[in-house]
């Protein structure tokens, strides 16, 4: 056996592999093909929070305690977002994509990786202002149950709503943003009618398959957390879920340029990372 000066790091890598393997075997959550560097940061945070000195100890805890597992999972999957994050993206949807959606008698929109619901409410407001809400169904999916519950509740911190309001205005909002929420007891609750066309559901881009045919998929800042092979799987799932000429919107630093499915899509708006599925040849 050869001696390596990086022996300590190697141990941590082994521990990480075992932890991810155990997590998948026991709970079905598959993080094995996530980008390692940021996954590792999150796992280290969970390790500190659960006062474990090694990843092996953390593995022991999460395999034997479902409560510790829940805590751990929230560290791995909770995403911070904003309503109308990257306002120019929503502006492009409003001006360029909505005219296409308008031609469909019913419109299905999938928010993949909806986290605490910021993006869902942004879409619900956008489609309401464009007079299409009654023709829409929104699928809001995430792997984190706690996040889905938050999304369904639609309750946010007042200090965050300031930023949401600014974004909404920059995104070409047509009303006053405060029409969509009420402030009560130190929090802000979004109008319940905004989610009446929404279906919240547990869905994994890693392990689950197509569940419906949709016209628009918005999946922002999710693919960056995946290794390239897993990105291909997720984009393949989007390709199989979209109607012909359906739209896919990604995060502002995500691209299909390196994807094995890139030929299946046309670039619809390069700056805003909006793609359109090609028709059959």
């Amino acid at each position: 056996m050869s001696f390596s000066p990086n022996a300590k790091r190697k141990t941590e890598e082994i521990e990480l592999e075992l932890l991810l393997e155990g997590l998948y075997e026991k709970y079905g959550y598959d993080f094995r093909r996530y980008s390692r560097a940021s996954l590792k940061r999150r796992i280290e945070q969970a390790k500190d929070r659960l006062s474990c000195s090694t990843l092996s100890e953390l593995q022991n805890r999460i395999l034997h305690s479902s409560q510790d597992f829940e805590t751990f999972l929230s560290y791995l999957t909770i995403q911070v977002s904003e309503m109308f994050r990257d306002p120019s993206y929503y502006k492009a949807l409003r001006c360029k994509v909505i005219p296409h959606l308008r031609t469909y008698p019913s419109i299905k929109i999938w928010i993949a990786g909806c986290s605490a619901g910021e993006e869902l409410y942004s879409f619900a407001i956008l489609l309401r202002e464009e007079g299409l809400e009654n023709r829409c169904i929104f699928y809001a999916t995430d792997i984190n149950q706690a996040a889905l519950l938050k999304a369904e509740a639609g309750v946010y911190r007042p200090e965050d709503v300031l930023q949401f309001t600014k974004n909404y205005q920059l995104a070409g909002g047509k009303a006053s943003f405060s029409d969509y929420y009420t402030a009560a007891y130190g929090s802000v609750v979004f109008d319940k009618s905004l989610k009446k066309k929404a279906v919240f559901s547990d869905h994994s881009l890693v392990t689950d398959s197509v569940f419906s045919e949709v016209h628009l998929i918005s999946c922002r800042n999710v693919l960056i957390y995946f290794e390239r092979a897993l990105q291909d799987r997720a984009v393949g799932l989007f390709k199989d879920s979209l109607v012909r000429k359906g739209f896919l919107g990604l995060g502002s630093k995500e691209t299909l340029r390196f994807s094995e499915h890139k030929e299946a899509f046309e670039t619809f708006d390069r700056d805003e990372r909006i793609y359109q599925l090609r028709g059959p040849a």
Binding site: I224, Y225, E227
Partner: protein, 200 residues
Amino acid sequence: MKVRNVTTNVSAVVIGASTGGIEALQQIFRFMENEFTLAVIVVIHLPPSGKSMLPSLFEGYSFKRVKEAEDKEKIEAGTLYFAPHNYHLLIESDSTFSLSSDEPVSFARPSIDVLFESATDAFGDQLIGIVLSGANEDGAKGVHAICKAGGIVLVQEPSSAVASAMPLAGAAACAEAKQMSPVAIGSYLNKLGVTAYAAK
């Protein structure tokens, strides 16, 4: 026992900068005359608005290429990379970049600590970390990690920095950190680049 030659074993240079950092970077690069052969990866804190003009500000120096780092892109020698606005930039063990939109770390996204710590995981002791002018303490945890792994840490001499808090925090976090003016950092890197080139 293998004696390590620091000037030929470096895989990459990571740089963190904040207030006054663009000027410091330009001073450094002005003193690099030869085509630089290592990858240089930079996080600069900027106000959270608008499109990044950073790569265009740094054209014309001694790099083969200047660009914004992209998700899953392979790191190439002789290239100057900037972290994209509003994302953390991380380095994977296969020498590719990853981006993350995780919450800001010490109020910063991109965070210098996040880049430096992941670079340490990827490159171990074959790394140079440089902390330039800035009015906060981002980068201190990062240089601590680089130091512990046996890499090289340089900090901008506080008196030469527009804001000295960041280099001071960097120096405090790493006992072996060398304090240098931008000019000295530039000529240090210049020599390093030439040696690395000669070794190939």
